[in-house]
Amino acid sequence: MTRDPIGLALSLMNRVAGQAWLDRLGLRPVVEKTAYQGTRAGFRTLALAGREFRRVNEWLPKQRLPAKAPADLFNLTLDEDQQMIVDSLHRFARDTLRPAAAAADEAATIPAGLFAAAAELGLTLYAVPEAFGGVAETASPVTSVLIAEQLAWGDMGLASALLAPFSVAQAITRWGSGEQQSRYLPAFCEESPPLATIAIDEPTPLFDPLKPATSATVTGSGYCLNGFKSGVVLGAESDLILVAAELHGRPRLFLVETAGADGIRVKPDPAMGLRAAKLARLEFKDLRLPADALLGGDDFDYQAMLDLGTLLRCGLAIGSAQAVLDYVIPYCNEREAFGEPISHRQSVAFMISDLAIETDSMRLLTWRAAARAETGQSFHREACLAHLLCSEKAVAAGSHGVQLLGGHGFVREHPVERWYRDLRSVATLYGGVHA
């Protein structure tokens, strides 16, 4: 199986030369790798000397992106803007993400130039209304799903890292007060946007995102936050974290700035996959938050927030499953056994047919839910159906991918073992995403 020269060079050098090559290729990690050695490392205090978000005295009234008008006809054609975004992100995924993916997974790190490259593409601009410096005119969950699909085709781990700040911007645009939007959103439109993430998952089996154990209590000056979060994308790097916590018996999201914070501890939470996304555990211990840290007001809808997150998660699943399909087709046509390509065997060919059927099933279910969300229609049922189907089929796609390559699929020379690990996350994680 051919492999592009950069990818091959990276994986070979990685094996013999450890970390030295990172500097030579300019893929210096954002944070020193020693910070991410694994679960043996204990919690350390998280107080990044990172970005401070300045409060503004004169804020704009809160902006809500209007829904698009429902169409008259069933239509699967992408509009011009969507097609343009898909095309440019596909090139980015193919030329930048895919070649960097193996090394990023191996070293559990993110190539330094990556966020800058994403900023150049204007990724977060699509999440921010014009009034705050972005380009968004209407709510566009469909476009968000398409973006996730394309990025995850390149690599789901890197895509998760890139989409976390995008998702935070989306969430603030959809739910934030005027003051919150004025304080945070312009930063996402700057040349180097902040790193940000959404922390929902907790280290417990059968975790239900509707019932976080992390809790917030009201204090004289605001809130006090206590609890644990796990599997948090960019958990140790983010300047801003949206944290799901129970308040007065109901789940809410809190805006937590990490610069100079007292009461947040972090440790790496490396997992089966998504290693480039630098998953981390967070502990909040009597973390004091100001009164305006509670995201949104009366129109905040926690379930809708989760549902919108699900759409992006499904987008990631579709992109990665499509990557599997696109990889196994040439492989099975080239790989010979018993004197002919293995694709001439029905047992092999039918697995590929199933892969295609279920990838499109995931895609159409997700697109429908997103299109309903985009046009202001109810979409909870559709989002739940998409999430369940994607949960089931994503893991099967990862499994098919490895199986079709046999022993070659099990070794890291091919990306399918990474996709197998990444695709398991679809049913496992709820945080880090918002469409």
Partner: protein, 402 residues
Amino acid sequence: MYLEIPRKFGAIVHQAQQVARSVFRPISRKYDLAEHAYPQELDMFAAIMDGMNDGAADGGAGAGKLARSGGKPSEGNVNGTNMKTVLGLTELCWGDVGLALSIPRQGLGNSAIAAVANEAQLARLGNTWAAMAITEPGAGSDSAAIRTTATLDGDHYVINGEKIYVTAGERANAVVVWATLDRSKGRAAIKSFVVEKGTPGMAVVRLEKKLGIRASDTAAIRFDNCRVPKENLLGDPEISVDKGFAGAMQTFDNTRPVVAGMAIGLARAALEKTRELLAPVGLEPDYQLQTWQQPAVIRELQLLEAELEAARLLTLRAAWMADNGQPNSKEASMAKAKAGRVGNAITLRCVELCGSLGYGETELLEKWARDSKILDIFEGTQQIQLLIIARRLLGKSSSELK
């Protein structure tokens, strides 16, 4: 991008739902038990359906109106006859698949005529009720291996052979028969011929007793020196590798989404009935993201619904592509494969979830579980669909990927 059914089809969906609810359901069990009895209730209904189609400004719906896929790309976005027919049949099969297959003038043969007939043939044969005769005792999925022959003799073709599994073969006014002009020339020599009822030499020799769709007659027909006018050969009489068989197979690109739609309607009926039976027990559907904290049956219902929804959208996509003149062979097979298998799995699971109530004849659930199996077999089995999809994806010929 928008994946909702357009409002303009609301009326036909509503009409078909009324027929399914008020005409089919009340007689559904009756004709399941009385296999081979002719459901006379359908005659009046067929007249209504004809009226609907003739009056429709946009060309109507139904088996005889399916557009030809892979045709000229149309201007702008079209939701047309293919989608409308899928939606109509979905609703009718929510009522009863066997009865839907017995509606006069809505046979598969009508779709074949619509797909390959020339203008003169369309004018002459467009309004007949035509069944489709492809399968033979020795040739099922490998339809290129058929042995029935057609020999030109003056102004007539003389047909000899035996056909089985002809849906509506006894009730239809005509049968579209696949026969070969020259067995040595392979699939290119296979042509379809319209044989009208009463033509000497054609005889229904048997009606099958079946697992399901018992309201629909399934005939075995023998052709013994059966002479048909040569104008009854559909399409081009020349043996051409490019057109011949491929043209005949093109019919399937349009009919497969319709059969997928049938499976979807049937499975939806089973899911709805199961929910209805579960409600008094206090088990209502509840959509959640974390499904593992729900009762097993609620999670299962959510999963079945997701599978059904996937099949439905794949089917709408295939129909939409045909309406818009896009080649849809792969997508039609994807829809048929998915809908066939989930329709079957859903109906069988619903029987299980309802226990002896699901298994007994008091409810229709057990009948639907029997009916659904044929939808994963006729118009191309699950395995044939997977072959077609795989050949397209992998770029393989039928001699490479067998």
